[in-house]
Amino acid sequence: MTRAFATVRLVFERLRDRPAFWAGVLVVGLVAAAVLASMVGAVAIPLREFPSALLDPSHPAHQLLWSVRLPRVAAGAFVGAALGVAGALMQAVVRNPIADPGLMGVTAGAGFGGLLAIVLWPEQTVLVPVLAFAGGLAAISALLAAAWGGGRVAGPLRIVLSGVAVQAILFSLIALVTFIYADRAPAFVSFTIGSLNGLGWNQVALIVLPVLVGSGLALLSTRALNLLLLDDDSAAGVGLGVRRARIAASCLAALLAAAAASVAGLVGFVGLVVPNWVRVLVGPDHRVLLPLCLLGGATLLILADTAARVLAAPLELPVGALLALIGGPYFLFVLWRKLA
């Protein structure tokens, strides 16, 4: 038993420096997850019928596939990718692997902004992503101010506590708004829990651009992100404008988290677990980490959403609740290992 374990470990160690291998694994995983998610549901599409359902308009499942399943898969992919990259960015900004847009209130800030837009200006759907971005940015600014106030380098505990405080404030604001506008609950109830239920191509179109721009800019900044992992003094010593880099990365994280929140609501933990798992596979270099977080986040969210649809069928569970159920214990585990 221990020998088998040792062998597995050895194979793992060997594969650690093979980012191309893991990228391949994740691409295959993403495609498989997308196909699986398109197949299962109230009307199951068997695998051998899948190509014809996809391409043949006369197939009975063609309409279902293109108007319900595929947009949902696409939305899941973009939201998951955005959250995975946003998580990696936030972890670089606070230089700590326990950072996460969901845990640290950035998603809650974006959610609060989006919620305000939904209840106050229900006709202006454009306002949802705009206010979501503003809310996410406000939340991450508050977090950075609380964690770095006084000029001291923040330890993990202080960062977590700052994030928890920011999140607590925002959740109470969200609760207030949902209480005051309880009559409009149908418009936002799935938004506040976090779910991909009923997403169509319209919503996908809404987030494609911010996700591509945000991830693209993040991928262009990998050198600065790598230097941010050093202590501030060393990073500044080799010529990085530390404060500017941190603010820029925070804005990108807020943009991505807000894009995700504006269509899927409060989905947490993807941003926490994906970068951590990917880092175990390929190490901390952002040139490799970010693209794999993109793939990994998309894969994880599609799989989790599929599970949420299937587990209590015919009821569709909100994927946000399911992820919190997995992510909470994982977060405790990371904390325990980190602070032990």
Binding site: L227, L230, S234, G237, D285
Partner: protein
């Protein structure tokens, strides 16, 4: 050897959250091409002075001048091309290799999105050879010993190829041989490439061995500055460090022998 490369003028520096200034009206100039050692007891401000020179800490009052111009308003990359510094206890993430760390030192020489060029790789290789970590370049930092890690960091700083080098206790955590190797390397950089070096160092004999001039700091002020023999006199050691010591000098360098026990309650 006469023009000033870097200078503090009437500097008051306070650490964040501290209630008193760690440097009080300190003026100190670093001559181009020299090795200047900053020595002093704990809390004398020597590390703070180095941090102020290297812009890690902004002075509350006073000026930092680089080649006569204001150093505090230079953009980070421009400053890094001219001044490289090694903090006392730098931190790097788990999982990065020595060569990845060292390549980080080329940041200020590369444009945005510019990949590592041959000159960058050559500079990194040269720096790793000089600090004897070339064989360790594929190892991850957390698998190295304290001294190896220290040399890897120094390698990153050297790879910056700045004409001015600020080092905070570079020999701490090194064994006797690597201490002497590192100091020899600094002397060689200084002699062959005219690199100006400011080094904070605890060991007075090492300071005397490496430096052209020694600056003794005491309670945030400059107590004495001059050649090692001038700055490290027996009465200076008594006043600043509070020890009775015999200082002897011969061809091998300066020797400091502390005499007798030292009673911590003597000053009460």
């Amino acid at each position: 050897m006469s023009d000033v490369a870097l200078a503090l003028e009437g500097v008051h520096t306070r650490h964040p959250l501290a209630e008193r200034d760690a440097l009080r009206d300190l003026s100190l100039s670093v001559q181009r091409g020299e090795i200047l050692a900053l020595v002093g007891p704990n809390g004398s401000g020597k590390s703070t002075a180095l941090a102020t020179l290297g812009r890690s800490l902004a002075p509350r009052l006073g000026a930092v001048l680089l080649d006569g111009g204001d150093a505090l308003t230079l953009p980070p990359r421009a400053f890094a091309r001219r001044v490289a510094r090694l903090p006392q206890s730098p931190i790097c993430p788990e999982g990065i290799t020595v060569s990845e760390l060292v390549h980080g030192g080329r940041h200020s020489h590369r444009g945005f999105l510019q990949p590592l060029r041959d000159v960058d790789l050559a500079a990194a290789r040269e720096a790793m050879r000089a600090t004897d970590v070339l064989d360790l370049r594929h190892r991850r930092m957390e698998t190295l010993s304290g001294g190896e890690r220290r040399r890897a960091w120094l390698s990153m700083v050297l790879c910056q190829e700045s004409p001015l080098l600020l080092l905070d206790e570079p020999t701490a955590a090194l064994d006797l041989r690597h201490q002497r190797e590192l100091l020899s390397l600094l002397r060689r950089l200084n002699a062959e490439r005219q690199v100006t070096i400011v080094v904070v160092i605890h060991d007075l004999e090492q300071a005397a061995w490496i430096a052209h001039r020694v600056a003794v700091l005491h309670r945030g002020r400059l107590y004495a500055v001059g050649t090692p023999a001038d700055a490290l006199r027996e009465d200076t050691l008594r006043d600043v460090f509070g020890v009775e010591a015999r200082v002897t000098s011969d061809d091998d360098g300066l020797a400091v022998r502390v005499l007798g026990p030292c009673d911590p309650l003597r000053f009460l």
